[in-house]
């Protein structure tokens, strides 16, 4: 990996209004950051939304990006959680085309990762797994040997541990 590139997880509390997402993504694009994943959901207060953004780029300018994000009027706050101890989750759905005789092996893998089968048909099975992104990566690498038809990941969401605010 390019040493000038590193991955960061940023959480934002933003106004729940149209156009906010564009204003935020513009800040990343202008400084050459690529957004790897982005999760938006309504907050417990309906006026605000939560965003968790995983982005890759030069760490030297990330600090500047966080400040620029905080300057956007619709952003209540933006925080970089990289390196902090946080609760982190992601969910993935994986559809495999597998003949019936291979299914037992796959069930074993699913069980090991505490995943589940979300859908089963004559020629395919759809698996569901939740956990840290690394756990999903690990399961994917084991499933690589089978015929993966489709894969969807939600992107990472995080929450600060203990009494701390995210």
């Amino acid at each position: 990996m390019d040493p000038t590139q590193s991955t960061h997880v940023i959480s934002l509390l933003v106004n729940n209004k149209p156009g906010v997402l564009i204003r935020i993504s513009l800040v990343f694009a202008r400084r050459g950051y690529n957004i790897d994943s982005l999760v938006v959901s309504p907050g417990n207060d309906e006026r605000f939304s939560r965003m968790t953004i995983t982005a890759k780029g030069d760490p030297k300018i990330l600090d500047q990006i966080i400040k620029q994000l905080n300057k956007v009027v619709d952003v209540i706050h933006a925080v970089d959680h990289t390196g902090e101890v946080v609760v982190e989750r992601e969910l993935a759905l994986i559809k495999l085309h597998v003949p019936a005789d291979k299914r037992a092996e796959i069930f074993q893998i699913v069980e090991h990762f505490r995943g589940e089968t979300a859908d089963l048909s004559k020629n395919s099975m759809t698996l569901q797994i939740t956990g840290k992104s690394e756990k999903i990566d690990a399961m994917m690498s084991l499933l690589d040997q089978y015929q993966i038809h489709e894969m969807v990941r939600t992107g990472k969401i995080i929450m600060a541990r203990g009494d701390l605010d995210t």
């Binding site: 513009l26 209540i76 706050h77």
Partner: protein
């Protein structure tokens, strides 16, 4: 009692009047007819521009002189997009502005309706904030928020897109509504402990220097800075946009620093052991090669925008707050200083590197400005366009009022100077306003001569006419083996006849001997006057620190050897 109903358009105009708006710079079109209709019944003066870009620069000029938001009213689609250059100019220079755009009816949004453009979308990168009003009841809150956002903290432009069916809809406005801006806070005073550390640094410094930027102008920090300077005996340099906040006629002023700063300002920068920026963002035109700028000096930065901390250069102390408030805080904890030796050195540089220019040959632009400065005595609002004349004006016209110097610094927008002078003149009734422009930039917005005439404004346009796009030609001269490309302004009109065609007075200067006489005539003639000063075609601006190079690379005069292409941008 029954609450009073009105249309959306009437509420907008009512809201503007509540904000104390005196002038609207605007141009009508299908989508804003209802707002223009409501304007008829208000006390607000409509300044009908000839092109929306000009209108937006007028609002900018008005805002810089007045210290309050300038208001622009344009129609949808092309009307709105024509303002974008002016909005970007305002954004780059932190100018408070509220731009109200007509928009197609809500049902047509996104359907490629006639004169429809996603204007709020287009505006995102160049505004402080923008609104698309979808509910008529939001009008009171949006107007209040727009002015609050535009004028507080680090100022900037705010755009409001108003669909036509919102303007015509009847409703009962609630003006008691509160602002709803949970994501917007305005820093005021700096942390006391940090102020104390800065005071220690100021006490320890042997060769301190203040750099006064636009933030100091905006917060009206001039008096506080004067107190600090006179108490501690610190010399002061000014950025292009900071000119006038600390009077350039003061003996401790060294004038403008940077790419085309005075030699003595730049030597002071090179030799200081402490530099304190008051509301400057260490722009690339100021720092040259950022990594080595004042590398051996203590660097202090006062700014109201937290995103400026560490953006361009690393500083030893960052004071977040309003420039005036922070300087007043510093003033309460600093002791008088002894800088005699340092000031003697600065005075020596002032003599040794005095601004100079050729006197022989044709008419010199610098001479015109030198004489203009003598005539103005710092008592005129001065605007510039962008290019060589801008830098010469910055060098030779000494600003003494914090809000009398208007120039497009960050954006470098050609066409800015003349319309900005119209706005400036409206904000300072009774004050003569001088627009120093080049023959290139003036032609971008000269249609506003109609506007100046209609408003009967004492705007004196001084064209430093070298029939070239002089600054680009200078770069081609220095860095591109004199291969001139696209810079010859062959085809220029006769500016005197042009002025006369608009009903203005046109005058021409061709010889140095006529400069005083004709400038005086321009000032004595009431109303709008255009002076065409036909100057030497190929003079270059010096001193010059080529873009992206350290100050040690400063050229005080034309180089005797070929120069490498500079590493910095433009």
């Amino acid at each position: 009692m029954q609450a009073k109903t009105c249309t959306g358009a009437e509420a907008i105009i009512d809201g503007l009047q509540q904000q104390g708006v005196e002038h609207i710079f605007g141009y009508p079109g299908g989508a804003n007819i209802p707002i223009f209709d409501a304007l008829l019944d208000s006390s607000i003066n409509l300044v009908l521009c000839r092109h929306e870009q000009g209108g937006s620069h007028m609002a900018d000029g008005y805002a810089r002189v007045k210290g309050k938001a300038g208001v622009v009213l344009v129609t949808s689609g092309p009307g709105a997009t024509n303002t974008i250059t002016g909005v970007m100019t305002a954004m780059m220079d932190s100018i408070p502005m509220v731009v109200i755009c007509g928009q197609t009816i809500r049902a047509n949004l996104g359907l490629d309706a006639f004169q429809e453009a996603d204007v709020s979308g287009i505006s995102f990168p160049v505004v402080k904030h923008s609104y698309l009003i979808k509910d008529v009841n939001d009008i009171p809150r949006v107007i209040k928020e727009a002015f609050h956002l535009a004028e507080s903290g680090r100022p900037g432009p705010v755009l409001i897109d108003v669909p036509k069916d919102i303007s015509t809809m009847e409703f009962t406005p609630n003006w008691q509504v509160e602002l709803d801006l949970p994501g917007f806070t305005v820093p005021t005073y700096a942390d006391d402990a940090a102020v104390a550390r800065v005071a220690d640094m100021l006490h320890e410094a042997k060769r301190p220097l203040l750099m006064v930027g636009h933030g100091a102008v905006i917060s009206d920090a001039g008096r506080a800075i004067m107190q600090l300077v006179e108490k501690m005996q610190i010399p002061v340099c000014s950025t292009l946009l900071g000119k006038g906040c600390f009077p350039e006629t003061h003996e401790l002023s060294v004038g403008m620093l940077g790419m085309h700063g005075t030699g003595y300002a730049n030597f002071t920068v090179m030799e200081c052991d402490l530099i304190m920026s008051i509301g400057s963002r260490w722009d690339d035109r100021i720092v040259g090669k950022a990594e080595v700028f004042c590398e051996h000096a203590k660097r202090i930065h006062i700014d109201i925008d937290p995103a400026e901390e560490g953006k361009m250069i690393k500083v030893h102390e960052f004071l977040l707050g309003d420039a005036k408030t922070v300087i007043e805080q510093i003033n309460t904890v600093v002791e008088p200083g002894d800088t005699k030796k340092w000031l003697a050195q600065v005075a020596k540089w002032k003599k040794q590197y005095k601004l100079k220019y050729k006197k022989q040959g044709g008419l010199r632009a610098e001479y015109v400005l030198d004489r203009l400065d003598a005539l103005m005595q710092g008592e005129c609002v001065v605007t510039t366009d962008v290019g060589q004349h801008q830098m010469w004006a910055a060098q030779f016209c000494k600003a003494t009022h914090h809000n009398y110097w208007l120039s497009s610094g960050g954006a470098g927008t050609m066409g800015y100077g003349f319309p900005a002078a119209i706005g400036g003149a409206l904000a300072a009734p009774g004050v003569t306003t001088v627009a120093v422009v080049g023959d290139g930039g003036f032609q971008m917005t000269l249609c506003e001569l109609s506007t100046a005439m209609l408003q009967k404004l004492p705007v004196k346009v001084i064209i430093l006419n070298n029939s070239f796009l002089g600054m680009v030609r200078q770069w081609q001269d220095l860095f591109f083996e004199k291969r001139y490309s696209g810079v010859d302004m062959e085809g220029n009109p006769d500016f005197v006849k042009l002025a006369e065609a608009y009903g203005a007075t046109g005058l021409r200067i061709k010889r140095a001997a006529d400069v005083d006489k004709i400038l005086k005539k321009a000032f004595d003639t009431p109303g709008t006057v255009v002076v065409d000063a036909v100057v030497e075609k190929e003079d270059n601006v010096y001193p010059m620190v080529p873009s992206g190079l350290p100050y040690t690379a400063m050229l005080l005069e034309p180089p005797k050897h070929k120069l490498e292409k500079p590493p910095g941008s433009t």
